[in-house]
């Protein structure tokens, strides 16, 4: 049998062995699922937080209480409007979206004017009425999210006439959830707002107090602060003699900045969300590159240690040369790495196909971007080069270690070395063609990662080609050195060699 045949046999066993392990399937399926969940869970939690009960003790007359009620109602309506926007993007055919589009701006926060327009249009009731006729077939019904906060009346028997401190003390068992504030949900009080007597928005003296046991829960506080600030500002405009119309016009005023880039000069220079993907997508690819290489390189290390400690290596080396064995292992594990990458892509696409909404749209844009640029061939090249370098170092490391514990102490500095570009992501993103990014891009070990990140910022092709050639040459050198180390070290027994001995094993002429 030829050397290639033997390499293939080793690679095949390696592939089959790992493809049968649980870890392989876990990595393949769990990683995309966890990634998707990590993206969805915070949003889901935010949307599905149960409404929280609060009460207001307004000793100043009732104007503040009314303003707070209005703010909470607005908040609920805003959530309904933004949910309606998402629903329309997901479930309405493109041609019927314009019918709803005046309701909300494409970008930016929903303003009082937007809300007013929404209300004028008919609000949630109107949406409920017309959506079933517009939505695609099989679309779920539109369910607006409920309120985040519910104002509850003061529980009977609590004296709310004293000073704020006394009221706070009287409410204490409710705030601590020792007593229910009402029978229906939400049954427990999460906060109380106490407005001192004589409080005047125009000339505030003592502060409005917010009582709660959960000092990290700012949602209600922020909402009320913002709303009262606006109310106070508008009252002051009015006091200065502005008409209500003028005040409303001020409130509806919005200024937006539009981003431009010389790279987009041909299309007028305007920068869109899509273009921002240009920074994010290559970084994502670079991270994927590095992570997939790491995941499988570690398998090589563990594999060789197993073969050494199980004394398997000698049987194998009577059939294949150390170089063939190493090549077979590199090939087989590369196959595992590519299978995992491929599975990630497939699972990702499956999630995309079955999903919808703005995030999914963004993902499609990202794919279009990847397909339009040099990313795929670059990824392939950098994967091969980076994989060969890192994987053969892990193999070499395995060939001098007798146990995982021994490997661990050597692995720590190595992993730190390999993780170094992660610490450079921020400076690299801020200035992709700056001195840090350019310099590190020339270090052969880091070229694959760094150049992958920088590819979208049009580095000079001379730089890309030269650094590519350098990293390729480096990778060949490393594989060669590790092959020699492997051949000389793999049959050794006893203590792992010191660094000088490793050097000698690599450089000496005869085994």
């Amino acid at each position: 049998m030829s050397a290639l045949g033997r390499i293939f046999q080793v690679a095949r066993r390696e592939y089959k062995h790992h493809a049968r392990s649980k870890g392989f399937w876990l990595t393949m399926v769990a990683v995309p699922v966890v990634a998707v969940l990590a993206g969805l869970i915070p949003q889901w939690v935010q949307e599905n937080k149960p409404a929280r009960a609060f009460l207001v003790v307004d000793q100043s007359g009732g104007a503040i209480e009314a303003a707070i009620d209005q703010a909470v109602a607005n908040d609920t309506e805003k959530r309904a409007l933004s949910a309606l926007k998402d629903y329309a993007a997901d479930n309405l055919p493109a041609e019927s979206v314009p019918m709803l589009s005046p309701l909300a701006p494409a970008r930016g926060e929903i303003t009082a004017a937007d809300l007013a327009a929404f209300r004028a249009w008919g609000g949630v009731e109107q949406a409920r009425k017309i959506l079933p006729g517009l939505a695609r077939e099989g679309a779920p019904p539109f369910v607006p999210p409920g309120p985040r906060f519910v104002r509850v009346p003061a529980p009977a028997g609590v004296d709310l006439t004293g000073d704020p401190a006394a009221i706070g003390a009287a409410l204490s068992p409710y705030l601590r959830s020792e007593k229910k504030v009402q029978d229906a949900a939400p049954a427990y009080l999460s906060g109380a707002i106490i407005v001192p007597p004589g409080y005047d928005l125009l000339k505030p003296a003592a502060a409005i107090q917010y009582w709660s046991v959960n000092i990290n829960e700012y949602d209600l506080m922020t909402l009320v602060e913002k709303a009262l600030t606006v109310t106070a500002q508008q009252a002051m405009y009015r006091e200065q003699g502005m008409s209500q119309e003028a005040v409303d016009a001020v409130a509806a005023r919005r200024v937006a900045l539009q981003g431009f880039s010389p790279d987009k000069a041909a299309e007028g220079g305007e920068v869109s969300t899509k273009d921002r993907l240009l920074n994010i997508v290559p970084l994502g690819l670079a991270l994927m590159l590095w992570m997939s290489i790491f995941t499988v390189a570690n398998l090589l290390l563990l594999g060789v240690i197993e073969e050494r400690s199980n004394k398997l290596i000698e049987v194998l080396l009577s059939s294949v040369s150390a170089e063939e064995f190493m090549a077979g292992k590199l090939l087989g594990i590369a196959g595992i790495g590519l299978t995992i990458l491929f599975a990630w892509i497939v699972v990702g696409l499956l999630i995309l196909i079955n999903g919808s909404g703005p995030t999914v749209q963004l993902a499609y844009d990202a794919i279009a971007l990847i397909l339009s640029g040099p990313y795929i061939p670059a990824f392939a090249f950098y994967f091969v080069v980076g994989y060969l370098t890192i994987a053969s170092v892990f193999l070499g490391l395995g060939s001098v270690c007798n146990s995982q514990q021994e490997a661990q102490s050597l692995l720590t500095p190595l992993v730190f070395l390999l993780m170094l570009p992660f610490f450079l992501i921020m400076p690299m993103m801020e200035d992709p063609n700056g001195p840090i990014a350019t310099t590190v891009g020339w270090i052969p070990l880091y070229t694959p990662f760094v150049m992958m990140v920088r590819l979208s910022t049009n580095p000079s092709w001379v730089e890309v080609a030269m650094s590519g050639a350098l990293t390729l040459a480096f990778s060949v050198l490393v594989v060669w050195a590790m092959a020699r180390l492997f051949r000389n070290a793999v049959l050794r027994t006893g203590q792992p060699p010191r660094l000088v001995e490793v050097w000698r094993m690599i450089t000496r002429r005869e085994a």
Partner: protein, 319 residues
């Protein structure tokens, strides 16, 4: 090297040094084709080192090695099967997978390797365990699997480093039969061992090394002739009468009360001649025992002192 047609393996002046330490020195011997060849020597003698050099896994510092007519075992590896001293298999593979893999590495095609694996497992009583993971087998069973993996591809030369260690007496017997069968098929088998009985029963020729140097090479007969022949007899005759007999080198009295003696014969002297002389001189014998010297005694007499020293030097480092 010349005349290698009838030699499976030839060592000529082979040496191996680790730094200043000479593990093997100036080793010259030849393994005839079709023979069972024993590789004997005390711990740390250099047996494993020599076998590894034979397989091209480590390179000799000096000398030349020829295996099956090639100057490197790597060139003919598909015709060689090797069982290393330290055994090990992939724990999560089954015996069938293991044998198929090892055979395929030696160039067998998949279907043939599979058929052969099943055949061998059947023949050696492991058929029921063919698809059990190795980690669930006993050590001895795993070792049998490994031996089968060594011979599955039908090698012309089989090299076994201490194949008997770790096997129970019945399986040692099975292995002896297997080795004899391999010879009957015209293959060459070379094995190292500490257990002299195996070598005694099986080997056509043997080499004995001590502290890296050749102590003896030749047939079992030649090895025996190196030892003075010892005869144990019982008689009422006086010791002096025995000392006068032809061909007697020395007489030692073992047990005065019963008249038991141990007589060492001079070089070239025959036991039968002594027996005849006793009759002729009218020495009445109550018993006469002239069993051949055991390989064990030859081993001890050739390398005994050296072995102790070598053991002290390596301090148990050699496995």
């Amino acid at each position: 090297m010349t005349g290698s047609n009838d030699k499976a393996v030839a060592f000529e002046g082979v040496g191996k040094s680790y730094g200043d330490f000479r593990a093997v020195e100036d080793l010259t011997f030849a393994v005839p084709k079709g023979a069972i060849y024993g590789f004997l020597g005390p711990n740390g003698a250099g047996k494993t080192t020599s076998l590894r050099m034979m397989l091209g896994m480590i390179r000799p510092t000096t000398g030349m090695i020829e295996v099956l007519g090639s100057d490197s075992a790597m060139g003919v590896r598909e015709r060689v099967g090797y069982l290393p001293e330290e055994r090990g298999l992939y724990r999560r593979m089954t015996p069938v997978e293991t044998i198929v893999y090892l055979a395929r590495l030696k160039g067998m095609d998949g279907a043939a390797a599979r058929k052969r694996a099943l055949e061998l497992l059947e023949r050696f009583g492991l058929a029921a365990f063919g698809n059990t993971k190795i980690e669930a087998l006993s050590k001895g069973m795993a070792q049998k699997v490994q031996i089968l993996g060594t011979i599955a591809h039908g090698p012309d030369l089989v090299i076994l480093d201490e194949p008997f260690s770790g096997l129970d007496p019945v399986n040692q017997q099975v292995l002896e039969e297997l080795i004899a069968d391999l010879r009957a098929e015209g293959r060459t088998v070379l094995f190292s061992t500490h257990v002299m009985q195996h070598a005694e029963r099986l080997c056509d020729r043997l080499v004995l090394i001590a502290r890296g140097r050749l102590a003896f090479e030749g047939t079992l007969e030649a090895a025996r002739s190196l030892m003075p022949r010892v005869i144990r007899l019982k008689t009422r005759a006086p010791r002096a009468a025995l000392g006068d007999l032809p061909g007697v080198a020395s007489v030692a009295l073992e047990d005065e009360a019963h008249g038991r003696y141990e007589i060492k014969l001079a070089d070239g002297a025959e036991g039968e001649a002594l027996l005849r002389a006793c009759f002729e001189r009218g020495i009445a014998l109550e018993s006469f025992d002239m069993s051949e010297p055991a390989l064990h005694d030859i081993f001890v007499s050739l390398v005994g002192d050296g072995a102790r020293e070598a053991d002290a030097r390596t301090g148990g480092k050699a496995a």
